[in-house]
């Protein structure tokens, strides 16, 4: 409790860490990390600071690692970040940059054409209370369908890991799934699913956060200089993806193959990249809305997200490069 | 009288290669129906081996072995009771395996335990018995099998002289009443003479039939009678000579 809530003095050239331990997933939604590591952008900007990569398969493990001090920063989805913020009462982490937007939606079987057709059907989401789960429930609610946490109600919402959901859908054991990329594309391309809702259409400007970069507050306080360099690398990576889309795809896939022993199929990769937008803007408004939605479907105790963002360094970096600053405002 | 057990030129080898041990070497022996044959021989000469061959527990390594009997019961040298059953449970199991009904089982087991002088011990566990008591339970179990050929491996080895006398009488009575054929291993020469129609002497390793004594004394015999003592002395001398020959 001794830490005061004050904006980090982004004093350039402040203390530097010897190493920084960065977490990310071998997953296409973490493309800025994949590309940044693969192309050596982080190594470039970090200079003398050694980059130690840690990879995870799911958000909870990454947050556990951050909590325990096993990593200093990680790419992660909005929901684990919110949970981590709320569980640590705003002490464990800060969101310092955005990374990915879009790339989620509801894929259903043939024969389901309207929300009303979903009555009595089984729809999978990756995790109870995660971003997609909340999005699905909020959308159902808007459409006058209810779903409880235990899988009951008009629509059965079943939290299932991606592997299970994909197989279950392929076999017709479930009727649909609200999933992120690349599974969205796989459901459509491999299992002949139909995109009923593209989540983009539910958000202003079609933008909503899928992945962002968080840093442990302790690390941020101690080594703002290192964090700055990390963010520089990140921005570089995002820009590279924007300008060299094809090469970025190859780099991301190469990194995935290195980490998981198997690359994505080219058509899936291309489709997923098309649906995703990579941006350093954290799209704060969508995070606040998502949290509110979670509260409204009773998946989150009311939480004060004020202060979850610390975009000072990011804006410093952007300004230095002559770019517009981003905002952490709720609206 | 018909032959019930015909052991013809039987050889038994344990193990193989350089480690092989010849336990029985061309043993021939026939036992007629209703006969009581006692086997005598030095420790390790192959008596137990012979019984287990007759009971069909081991394969012979050579020769032929013929059994003409409905059912063979074997009382092992060690009591080998099942620890998970009570004393009477052990006896009843033998009855049960012959399809005797529950009530009959209980009754018959009680009788058998009475015969071996363990009336009140039916409810105990084997580990609560003394060595001699366990041996008697094993006897009761062997009798419960209701076999027509009864093989007994030193059944009274752990018993005091008095209990042994009593059981001699009981065994003789049962043998006579049920017309059993008995093959009886013992180290007690007097016991052999007391009980047997014949006493067969085996040589030391490898076991061979050394001599086959016919015991003609009229029954009932008494173990401390002079006839029994005299015959036993004769057999003992023969045995002693064999051991001496072997030792030289």
């Amino acid at each position: 409790g001794s830490d005061e809530e004050k904006p980090t003095a982004a004093g350039s050239g402040a203390a530097e860490a010897e190493t920084i331990r960065l977490g990310y997933f071998p997953n296409i939604t973490h493309a800025p990390a994949l590309v940044g590591v693969n192309k050596g952008f982080f190594a470039e900007t970090l200079g003398g600071t050694k980059l130690e990569e840690k990879t995870f398969n799911a958000g909870p493990a990454a947050i556990e690692a951050l909590f325990s001090g096993a990593i200093d920063a990680t790419y992660i989805g909005p929901n684990p970040a919110i949970n981590g913020w709320s569980e640590s009462k705003g002490q464990a982490l800060k969101i310092v940059a955005g990374s990915t937007s879009g790339g989620a939606g509801l894929v259903v079987k043939d024969g389901i054409n309207t929300p009303a057709d979903l009555k009595g059907k089984k729809i999978a989401t990756p995790q109870l209370g995660n971003t997609q789960d909340v999005a699905l429930r909020a959308w159902l609610k808007q459409n006058g369908l209810n779903a409880d946490k235990q899988g009951g109600g008009d629509v059965s919402v079943l939290p299932q890991d991606n592997a299970t959901a994909l197989q279950a859908f392929a076999q017709g054991a479930i009727d649909g799934a609200w999933v992120p990329e690349p599974n969205l594309s796989r459901l459509i391309l491999e299992s002949k699913g139909k995109l009923l809702v593209d989540e983009k259409t539910l958000w202003p400007n079609g933008e909503f956060v899928t992945t962002h970069l968080i840093v442990s507050q302790e690390f941020l306080k101690k080594y703002p200089g290192t964090v700055k360099k990390l963010i520089q690398g990140h921005v570089k990576s995002v820009k590279y993806i924007e300008t060299n889309n094809a090469e970025a795809q190859t780099a991301a896939n190469a990194q995935i193959e290195k980490l998981s022993g198997k690359a994505l199929k080219p058509e899936i990769l291309a489709a997923a990249f098309k649906n995703l937008k990579f941006t350093y803007n954290p799209i704060a408004s969508s995070l606040y809305t998502s949290a509110k939605n979670a509260e409204s479907v009773d998946l989150l105790d009311p939480v004060d997200l004020k202060g979850i963002y610390d975009l000072t360094i990011l804006n410093e970096v952007l300004t230095a490069e002559g770019q517009a600053a981003v905002s952490d405002a709720a609206a | 009288m018909s032959t019930v057990v015909r052991i013809d030129d039987v050889t038994k080898k344990y193990g193989s290669g350089s480690n092989a041990l010849l336990a029985l070497d061309h043993v021939s022996l026939t036992v007629d129906k209703g006969e009581f044959v006692c086997l005598l021989g030095a420790s390790g000469c192959g008596k137990s081996t012979l019984l287990s061959l007759v009971a069909g527990l081991d394969r012979i390594s050579g020769g032929t072995l013929e059994i003409n009997g409905k059912h063979v019961a074997l009382m092992f040298q060690e009591a080998a009771l099942f620890p998970w059953l009570s004393v009477s449970g052990n006896v009843e199991l033998a009855l049960r395996l012959q399809g005797v009904g529950r009530a009959d089982r209980r009754k018959r087991a009680g009788e058998l335990l009475e015969i071996v002088r363990l009336g009140g011990f039916g409810g105990k566990r084997p580990h609560e018995l003394s060595g001699g008591m366990r041996q008697r339970v094993a006897l009761a179990r062997a009798l419960a099998q209701n076999a027509d050929i009864l093989l007994m491996d030193e059944p009274f080895g752990a018993l005091d002289a008095m209990t042994r006398d009593i059981l001699h009488d009981e065994l003789e009575r049962i043998w006579r009443e049920q017309e059993l054929t008995v093959l009886f291993v013992t180290h007690n020469v007097r016991e052999a003479v007391r009980l047997g129609d014949r006493v067969v002497l085996l040589s030391s390793r490898p076991g061979r039939v050394l001599e086959d004594f016919k015991i003609d004394h009229p029954r009932p015999r008494r173990i401390d009678s002079t006839e029994v003592a005299a015959q036993a002395a004769e057999i003992t001398d023969r045995l002693r000579a064999e051991v001496a020959r072997h030792a030289s």
Binding site: N83, G152, A168 | L85, R125
Partner: protein
């Protein structure tokens, strides 16, 4: 010539009782109350020590409380859980699944174990496969489970049974392999064959090892169940497995610890059941210290 001196049987008994306490797991003498106390105080002490150590670590502020919450928080959470009827529904659901799955695994494992130890070619063919199957993480069975049973209760059962049956079979096989030869020979002489041999000789003789196989089987089935319960979520009651996963996903450290405690308690209660069986057996076999 027995002397007339009156011996102090009572004292000797007590000495013998103390001796038994020292050497044997359970004293045979003493009134019921004392026996319960004897087996209870070390448990209570252990729990007390564990909680005290935990509290100390928390007090040392080694980690922030949102990472490692203190006992007080956790017990508050636990109490809250225990007063939710929903939670008990979940426990009931999970335990029902666990028992059904376990019983099925026992039945199947017993048959397989008996068959494998009976027929040499079968043993050569699938003996080693049994251990191989055992080493497969339950999660790898999910695709097969879905393939065969869709997302039904049967899929969960499949995962549980395939996780636990090999243990049961292995326990039985190892028990059968170590049945003393003398007993087998006695059985043969008594005319045991086929089923009756298993019924009257092999099973009781291999019971100790079988029970320890059952215990392991239970552990496997429970662990497989915790994974398997993530497969199928039945509207209404949320199973313990799903709850545990959710607690982790929501990063509620104190809830995670609460569920660890719940699972431990269930595990311990089941172990006590097994131990009761085991002790009865050992007593029958005459293995407890006099």
């Amino acid at each position: 010539m027995p002397a007339e001196v009156i011996t102090d049987d009572k004292t000797a008994d007590e000495v013998s009782g103390l001796d038994a306490l020292e050497l044997a797991p359970r004293p045979d003498r003493g009134d019921r109350g004392r026996r319960i106390w004897n087996s209870a105080w070390p448990k209570l002490l252990a729990v007390a020590i564990a909680i005290a150590a935990w509290q100390l670590v928390v007090l040392s502020e080694w980690k922030p409380t949102y990472v490692l919450p203190g006992p007080v928080d956790v017990f508050a959470d636990l109490k809250e859980l225990a007063t939710t009827p929903d939670f008990w529904d979940g426990v009931r659901l999970t335990l029902t699944r666990a028992f059904t799955g376990f019983l099925l695994a026992v039945a199947i494992g017993t048959v397989i174990g008996a068959a494998v130890s009976r027929f040499a070619p079968l043993r050569a063919a699938i003996g080693s496969l049994i251990t191989g199957l055992q080493t497969m993480p339950s999660i790898m069975w999910f695709p097969l489970a879905i393939l065969l049973f869709q997302l039904s209760e049967s899929a969960i059962m499949f995962v549980v049974v395939i996780g636990a049956a090999p243990s049961v079979a292995n326990g039985l096989i190892s028990g059968i392999d170590y049945v003393p030869r003398t007993w087998l020979r006695v059985g043969q002489v008594l005319g045991m064959k086929g089923l009756s041999k298993y019924r009257h000789l092999i099973l009781p003789a291999s019971l100790p090892s079988f029970i320890s196989g059952l215990k392991q089987g239970w552990a496997f089935s429970w662990r497989s169940l915790m994974a398997g319960e993530l497969l199928v979520i039945v509207p209404g009651a949320l199973s313990v497995g799903a709850r545990m996963q959710n607690a982790r996903d929501l990063h509620e450290a104190s809830l995670v610890i609460s569920y660890i405690i719940v699972v431990l308690i269930i595990g311990i209660l089941i172990d006590i059941l097994f131990n009761t069986a085991d002790n009865a057996l050992r007593k029958r076999w005459g293995l407890t210290g006099n």
